[in-house]
C-alpha cells in the first residue's frame, strides 16, 4: 500500500515538473503552428547552463534560475527570426519546413553538446538534494516537491499572463486567428518571437531543475522531447489547459511502469501509449487540439 502511494506521489511530482516543458511547447504550436523538435535540447542546454554556472561561480544552482531564464529568452528571441523565415517560404508547407528546421536545430545543439562535453554524465546538487519532507508515513524528496511546486507556479504564472494581461490576449488572439489578429494590429512576428523566447526561457530553466533531479548528459534531450510530445499529444496540440492534466497522467504512467514493470520498459511504454493516443484521438483525449 505504501509503495502504491509512494508511486502515485512520485508520479505526480514528476508530472508537475514536466508541465513546464509541455506548456511552452504547446503554446509554441498553438500560436505559431511550429513543432519545435529541439524542445529536448533546450532542456539539455538549460541543464548544462546550470552546471556551468555552478562550476564557475559556485553557490546553489537555484539562484541562477532567473539568469538562465533571461539568457534562454534572449537565445530564443535571436533564433526565432530564422524559424520565421523557414516557415514563411513561398510555396512550401510551413509546418513541414518548421519541423525540418527545428529538427536540424536539435541535431546542431546535440552535436554541439556532445562535442564540448562528450558522453560524460554530470550532475548538479542543490541545498534541497538529499533532503526529505515527511507527510505522515511517507517521506518525499524535497527536491521533487520543489520541482512540482515550481511547475505549478510556472503554470499559474503562464495562465495569468495569457488570460489577464494585454500581451496574453494578443497571443491568444493570434493563436486562434492569425490573419484577423494581424488586421487588428497585432504584429504577428513579434508575437511569435515573444512566445518562442518565453518558451525557450521556461524550458531552459526547467532544465536546471531536471539536471538537479536527474543526470545531465548530451543525449538527455530525447527523453524530454518524448515527454513533451507525449504531454502535448495527450492534451491536444495547442490546447494549453490540457497540459496540466496530461503532464500529471504522464508522471503517473512513468512512475507506475518504473516501479511495477521495470525501468527498462518505461520509455517503450510511453511510446506505445503516445502512439495509441495519436491513432485513436489525434486531437488529444479531450479532443480540443488543433
Amino acid at each position: 500500500m505504501e509503495l502504491f502511494l509512494q508511486t502515485i506521489i512520485d508520479g505526480l511530482l514528476i508530472g508537475g515538473l514536466i508541465i513546464i516543458v509541455g506548456i511552452g511547447f504547446s503554446l509554441c504550436f498553438g500560436v505559431m503552428h511550429i513543432v519545435d523538435f529541439a524542445v529536448g535540447e533546450w532542456v539539455m542546454l538549460g541543464a548544462y547552463a546550470g552546471y556551468l554556472m555552478v562550476r564557475y561561480f559556485g553557490h546553489d544552482p537555484m539562484i541562477y534560475l532567473p539568469v538562465i531564464f533571461l539568457i534562454f529568452c534572449a537565445l530564443g528571441w535571436m533564433i526565432y527570426p530564422l524559424i520565421f523565415r523557414a516557415v514563411s517560404g513561398k510555396g512550401h508547407n510551413p509546418v513541414i519546413m518548421g519541423l525540418v528546421f527545428t529538427f536540424g536545430l536539435s541535431i546542431l545543439m546535440k552535436g554541439g553538446a556532445l562535442s564540448v562535453w562528450g558522453y560524460h554524465i554530470q550532475s548538479i546538487t542543490t541545498w534541497l538534494s538529499g533532503k526529505g519532507i515527511s507527510f505522515g508515513v511517507l517521506t518525499v524528496p524535497a527536491l521533487r516537491v520543489s520541482g512540482f511546486a515550481f511547475g505549478i507556479l510556472v503554470t499559474l504564472l503562464f495562465m495569468l499572463f495569457l488570460y489577464k494581461t494585454k500581451f496574453g490576449i494578443i497571443i491568444r488572439a493570434t493563436a486562434q486567428d492569425r490573419d484577423t489578429a494581424n488586421l487588428l494590429g497585432a504584429d504577428v512576428r513579434k508575437v511569435g518571437a515573444l512566445v518562442y523566447s518565453l518558451y525557450a526561457g521556461v524550458t531552459g530553466m526547467s532544465g536546471v531543475l531536471i539536471g538537479a533531479l536527474f543526470s545531465i548528459h548530451a543525449s538527455m534531450g530525447t527523453k524530454y522531447a518524448t515527454l513533451a510530445f507525449f504531454v502535448v499529444v495527450l492534451a491536444g496540440m495547442g490546447y494549453v489547459p490540457g497540459v496540466l492534466v496530461a503532464a500529471l497522467v504522464l508522471g503517473l504512467l512513468q512512475s507506475f511502469v518504473t516501479v511495477y514493470i521495470g525501468g527498462r520498459y518505461t520509455l517503450a511504454a510511453l511510446f506505445l501509449v503516445m502512439y495509441g493516443v495519436l491513432l485513436i484521438t489525434p486531437k488529444g483525449i479531450l479532443k480540443r487540439g488543433i
Partner: protein, 331 residues
C-alpha cells in the same frame, strides 16, 4: 517534372546527350573497385548505401510529402532480420536480404495504415515515436541480443559488398525512376503532397497510394540494412536503430533536393565527403553533427529545393541572385 512533356518530343541526338552521363556513371561505378584503394572502396560502399537510404526516404518524404522521422527503423529491422535469419535459420545471403525487404515493407504497411491517417506534424511525431520505440524494443528483447547486439560470421570480401550495395542502390533508383518519374504512381504521390483532398476528389485513392508508397519506401532500407549487417558483422540497437540513421537520410535528401530523382544521391555524396573531411581535420568525433544540423537549417532557409533546385535559380541569374541575397541578409 514539367520538362517531361518537352522531353517526350526530343530528337534522337539529344537522347545521346542525356544518356551519356548516365552511362559514364555506370561504367565508372562498375570498374571503381578495381581502380581504387580499399579505403576508397569502403567509402564508395558507404556512399552507395546512404544514396539508397536517402532515396527511399525521398519516396515517402519528398514525393509524397509525409515526413517520416523514424525511417531508420526499417534499416535497423532489416539488419536484424537478415542477421537473425542467417544465424538461426542458415538462410543464404540473398534470400535473407529479400526476406528483410519484404518484412520491412510489411512492417511499414502495418504501421502505415493507422499512421498515414495523421497529417504533417502528427505524422512526423508518430513516426519519430515509432522509430525510438523499435530501438527500445530491440534493446529489451533477448533474441535480438538486447543491448549487446548481434555478431555475424565474417562473410566475403570488400569488393563483393561494394557490388551488392551498387546493385541494391541501383535498383532503388531504377524503381524510383520507373514508378515515380515515368508512371502515374509518381504523379499521384505529388498530387497527394500538393493537396491531398483535391487528389482524393479527382479520383486518386489516397489511402491505398500512400500506403503503397510507404511500403515501397521501407523495402530498400530493409534490404540495405541486411547488407550492412553482413558488411560490418556486428550490429546493435544504437548502431542500426539509432536516430542518426534517420537524421542522415533526411539531411541528404533535403540537401540534394527532395522530390527529385538524383537529389538524394548528390546529398549522400556531399554529406559523406564533408563528414570524412571533418574527421580528417577534427578527428573522428561528433562535431560533424553540428555541421549536419547547421546544414539542414541552412538548406531549409536558403535552398529548400536542395542543390538540384539551384539549377533553376541563382547559377543562371547571378545579378538577380546577388540582389536577392542582399535583401535576405537583413533579418
Amino acid at each position: 517534372m514539367e520538362l517531361q512533356a518537352a522531353k517526350a518530343e526530343t530528337l534522337p541526338s539529344s537522347l545521346v546527350w542525356r544518356f551519356t552521363p548516365l552511362t559514364l556513371l555506370l561504367v565508372i561505378s562498375l570498374i571503381y573497385p578495381w581502380i581504387v584503394s580499399p579505403l576508397w572502396i569502403r567509402l564508395g560502399t558507404e556512399v552507395l548505401m546512404w544514396a539508397g537510404l536517402a532515396q527511399s526516404w525521398n519516396i515517402i518524404g519528398g514525393y509524397t510529402g509525409y515526413l517520416c522521422f523514424g525511417h531508420g527503423a526499417f534499416f535497423g529491422v532489416g539488419a536484424y532480420i537478415t542477421g537473425l535469419m542467417m544465424i538461426n535459420l542458415g538462410l543464404p545471403f540473398g534470400l535473407g536480404l529479400l526476406v528483410s525487404g519484404i518484412l520491412a515493407s510489411l512492417l511499414a504497411l502495418i504501421i502505415g495504415y493507422p499512421t498515414l491517417r495523421l497529417r504533417g506534424a502528427y505524422f512526423a511525431i508518430a513516426t519519430w515515436a515509432f522509430g525510438e520505440m523499435i530501438r527500445q524494443i530491440a534493446t529489451i528483447l533477448d533474441f535480438t541480443g538486447g543491448a549487446f547486439g548481434l555478431q555475424m560470421p565474417s562473410y566475403l570480401n570488400l569488393p563483393y559488398f561494394y557490388y551488392v550495395m551498387l546493385l541494391v542502390t541501383g535498383l532503388t533508383y531504377l524503381t524510383t525512376f520507373l514508378l515515380l518519374e515515368r508512371a502515374r504512381f509518381g504523379y499521384k504521390l505529388l498530387a497527394i503532397r500538393e493537396h491531398e483532398e483535391a487528389a482524393e476528389m479527382v479520383g486518386v485513392n489516397t489511402v491505398a497510394i500512400k500506403n503503397w508508397a510507404f511500403a515501397l519506401s521501407a523495402f530498400f532500407p530493409g534490404v540495405l540494412g541486411g547488407v550492412y549487417a553482413y558488411w560490418v558483422t556486428y550490429i546493435h540497437p544504437d548502431s542500426v536503430l539509432g536516430a542518426q540513421i534517420t537524421d542522415f537520410m533526411v539531411v541528404m535528401a533535403f540537401l540534394g533536393g527532395i522530390g527529385s530523382l538524383w537529389g538524394p544521391f548528390l546529398g549522400a555524396i556531399v554529406v559523406q565527403l564533408v563528414q570524412r573531411v571533418l574527421w580528417l581535420f577534427w578527428g573522428a568525433g561528433t562535431f560533424y553533427l553540428v555541421i549536419i544540423g547547421a546544414a539542414i537549417c541552412a538548406v531549409v532557409l536558403f535552398i529548400p529545393n536542395g542543390i538540384i533546385g539551384l539549377r533553376e535559380t541563382r547559377i543562371f541569374h547571378p545579378r538577380e541572385a546577388i540582389s536577392q541575397l542582399r535583401k535576405r541578409i537583413k533579418w
